[in-house]
């Protein structure tokens, strides 16, 4: 089942996340990841970026149902849109004399950052698109992951759209 990234602009008010999350659970839609934060330029609104699973019909219903929520101001569905998307992961990797240099080279290759060092572990932060984050995790896994935390995705449309199937689905309410 394909994944879709949807950006939802909502009123920054009490209970709004519950409305959006409840809509997904109540209608049987799956959320793969979700991020939410107040808009830095306009604190009266929040931006929710969510990744959901489903075929075209499910995606259409998700869009429509989101638009039906009174606290939702605008829904932008990134289907067929060239987007820049980023996730972040922090991994605490076990290290010893032997593996420290191996980790260093992975960190270097991925342009990740070491953000904490302990006697037996190194914590690394990486920001990148979904595939890059997945590849990074796959490479450090054999070294021994002691702890890992991964964010949901944030995304926006690219300034220049090169894709052939270039139908941006704007479900604006006005």
């Amino acid at each position: 089942m394909p994944s879709h990234t949807i950006s939802v602009l909502v009123e920054n008010e009490f209970g709004v996340l519950a409305r959006v999350a409840g809509l997904f659970s109540g209608r049987g839609f799956n959320i793969e990841s979700l991020t939410v934060a107040a808009d830095p330029l306009d604190p009266s609104v929040s931006r929710i970026v969510l990744v959901a699973e489903g075929d075209d019909q499910v995606l259409e219903q998700i869009n429509k149902q989101l638009n039906k929520v009174i606290s939702v101001i605008k829904v932008t569905d990134f289907k067929g849109v060239d987007t820049i998307g980023r996730e972040m992961v922090i991994v605490k990797v076990a290290v010893d004399e032997r593996t420290r240099s191996e980790l260093d080279s992975i960190v270097h290759a991925f342009r990740a950052h070491v953000i904490d060092i302990g006697p037996h572990s190194v914590s690394v932060e990486l920001t990148g698109d979904t595939d890059k984050v997945a590849a990074f995790i796959a490479l450090v896994r054999p070294l021994g992951i002691k702890e890992i935390v991964r964010s949901g995705k944030v995304a926006m449309a690219r300034a220049v759209q090169l894709g052939a199937d270039n139908h941006r689905h704007h479900h604006s309410k006005d």
Binding site: G15, A18, R19, G22, L23, Q61, K64, S71, I73, D174
Partner: protein
């Protein structure tokens, strides 16, 4: 500016929004508002259970077209309204429910009679609010009415903590509602309307499939004009009955699980289905793959975009208010020669449907009465029609009796039929009928119920007696949960698992409440008893005993195709 308490602001805003009747039940957390209510001109109806208040508000809304208003306390008062709120949500009924809440400082502390009603009602309301500041009271109540009554109507809950009710603030209602996330589309897209008209003019067997949206939009007149003007027949959902007058030959009656053979066969054969304010409910479509299989185009007019292509893929969607879109279609078809040329072909199609109707009429064998002298539901409905001449508001509960009335009663007017369609709430009928009477005091109101359903909210008979509500309640009593029994008979090898029910002596019960009670067991006494009962003043219960073997037919088994219709 003079300061008012939050409670007084609630009452003043209710008055400004035109709420002249409210249904409610006082309790601790809403007492400040009840205190302010006592000095106002609003008529308050004290119910016996908060669920009753919600169904009364629904009945009131359905008849008046205005949002019904409910006022209850926190905790159990609020949770008792859930069924009615969910019912209103499913049947797009405008309603504003104001619930008391514990003081803001106590919220989240598991205080006495505290419930997270905003959390509980989130999935079954169009929107809901918790007011935390007295400065927001007037704005939020105004918004609640606007949201409830506009677009696709629905219930809105406003949770009102006790300290917000007692806090003071100057009273000013905002001039208009500003909601950047809520702007219902009223006018249909002209290009889509043009496409729809073209699809109709290219069709040979067009059919209107109309739903409750026609009633909420107040579009029955436009529908009638369009259907008659073009000669295109109309089939109605349960919620739409009365949109097209029963006496009009173009009206085919209800479609779906218990729809007529004529209506369902028309759906199966149409090449252009025009859905108007209907939502392709599973009780209408049966098995989706076999629904309207010959339709080359499906047009769907609805104010709610999420209803379009949810269950059935639609070719030509038109988002907009039904009335507005039908007016535009009427203007577009006017004087079109290509449409005028179709008339003869469409007339033949209509004749074909009328022949189907004649081939398998509803309850043909019931027309001469039962041989055993017992009462058939058919006779009761005939008798009711005879007494009222059809000029009556009918409310029902849920089950066999509901389907019999829907199939057989000849509704001539919109807004005269109250039933729980989407949620299928037993216990809806009596309170909905009471609410209807407050919306239209001069109209005759009849409730038709079953022996199971009536016992779910029988306590509202007390409300009817207290307020002298002139309402006649017919109980089709077969000492069984009839529809459950029917399914057990047809689909569970006649294994009647817990569906037989003892009932109280309804005559004595009516008497105990201070109402009139009648009972009739034999067909020969039916007419006389019903006429006596209808002549009695005030609330009346009529216990009509019917045999257990009476079933609702025809029937499409759940998930079945229209062609799999059972007739016995």
């Amino acid at each position: 500016m003079k300061k008012l308490t939050g409670a007084q602001i609630v009452i003043e805003t209710l008055i400004a929004e035109g709420a002249d009747v409210i249904f409610g039940y006082p309790g601790g957390a809403i007492l400040p508002t009840y205190d302010a209510l006592l000095d106002s001109k609003i008529k308050h109806v004290l119910v016996r259970h908060e669920q009753g208040a919600t169904h009364m508000a629904e009945g009131f809304a359905r008849v008046s077209g205005k949002p019904g208003v409910v006022l209850v306390t926190s905790g159990p008062g609020a949770t008792n309204t859930i069924t009615g709120i969910a019912d209103a949500y499913m049947d797009s009924t405008p309603m504003v429910v104001i619930t008391g809440q514990v003081s803001t400082s106590l919220i989240g502390n598991d205080a006495f009679q505290e419930a997270d009603i905003v959390g509980i009602t989130r999935p079954c309301t169009k929107h809901n609010y918790l007011i935390k500041d007295v400065r927001d009271v007037a704005r939020i109540i105004k918004e609640a009415f606007y949201i409830a009554g506009s677009g696709r109507p629905g219930p809105v809950v406003v949770d009102l903590p006790k300290d917000v009710q007692t806090a003071e603030h100057s009273f000013k209602i905002p001039d208009k509602v500003e909601l950047r996330g809520y702007k219902p589309t009223i006018r249909g897209n002209p290009r889509q309307i043009e496409r729809a008209v073209e699809a109709i003019e290219h069709s040979s067997r067009p059919l209107f499939y109309v739903g409750g949206g026609v009633q909420w939009s107040g579009a029955a007149a436009e529908l009638r004009e369009l259907s008659r003007g073009l000669g295109i027949p109309v089939t109605e959902t349960l919620m739409a009955l009365g949109s097209m007058p029963a006496s009009d030959a173009l009206r085919l009656g209800m479609l779906g699980m218990h729809g007529s053979y004529g209506a369902n066969t028309a759906v199966t054969n149409t090449d252009c289905l025009i859905a108007v304010g209907a939502r392709f409910d599973d009780r209408v479509t049966g098995r989706i793959a076999d629904f309207a299989p010959k339709a080359e185009s499906i047009i769907h007019i609805d104010i709610d975009p999420s209803s379009i292509s949810k269950n059935v893929k639609v070719d030509i969607p038109i988002v907009g208010d039904i009335k507005s879109v039908l007016v535009d279609i009427l203007a577009s078809v006017k004087g079109r020669e290509s449409i005028a040329k179709k008339r003869a072909e469409w007339q033949k199609w209509h004749q074909q449907i009328l022949q189907w109707k004649k081939d398998k009429p509803l309850y043909e064998n019931s027309r001469d009465g039962r041989k055993d002298g017992l009462i058939s539901p058919y006779q009761v409905i005939e008798e009711l029609y005879g007494i009222t001449k059809g000029d009556v508001i009918v409310a029902t509960d849920v089950g066999q009796h509901q389907m019999w009335v829907a199939q057989m009663f000849g509704f001539e007017n919109p807004r005269s039929w109250l039933t729980s369609g989407g949620l299928g709430t037993m216990g809806y009928g009596l309170p909905a009928g009471i609410g209807a009477k407050f919306a239209a005091p001069d109209k005759r109101v009849v409730v038709i119920s079953g022996d199971g359903s009536i016992q779910m909210n029988i306590q509202e008979l007390g409300t009817a007696v207290q307020y002298g509500v002139d309402i006649k309640v017919i109980i089709l009593n077969n000492y069984f949960l009839g529809m459950v029994r029917q399914w057990q008979e047809k689909f569970y090898q006649e294994r009647y698992s817990y569906s037989a029910m003892s009932v109280p002596n309804f005559v004595k019960l009516a008497d105990a409440y201070g109402a009139h009670g009648f009972r009739v067991e034999h067909a020969k006494d039916l007419a006389k008893t019903m006429r006596e009962a209808f002549a009695a003043p005030g609330p009346v219960l009529i216990d009509v005993v019917i045999p257990k073997d009476e079933v609702v037919m025809p029937m499409i088994p759940p998930g079945g195709a229209m062609s799999e219709m059972l007739f016995a």
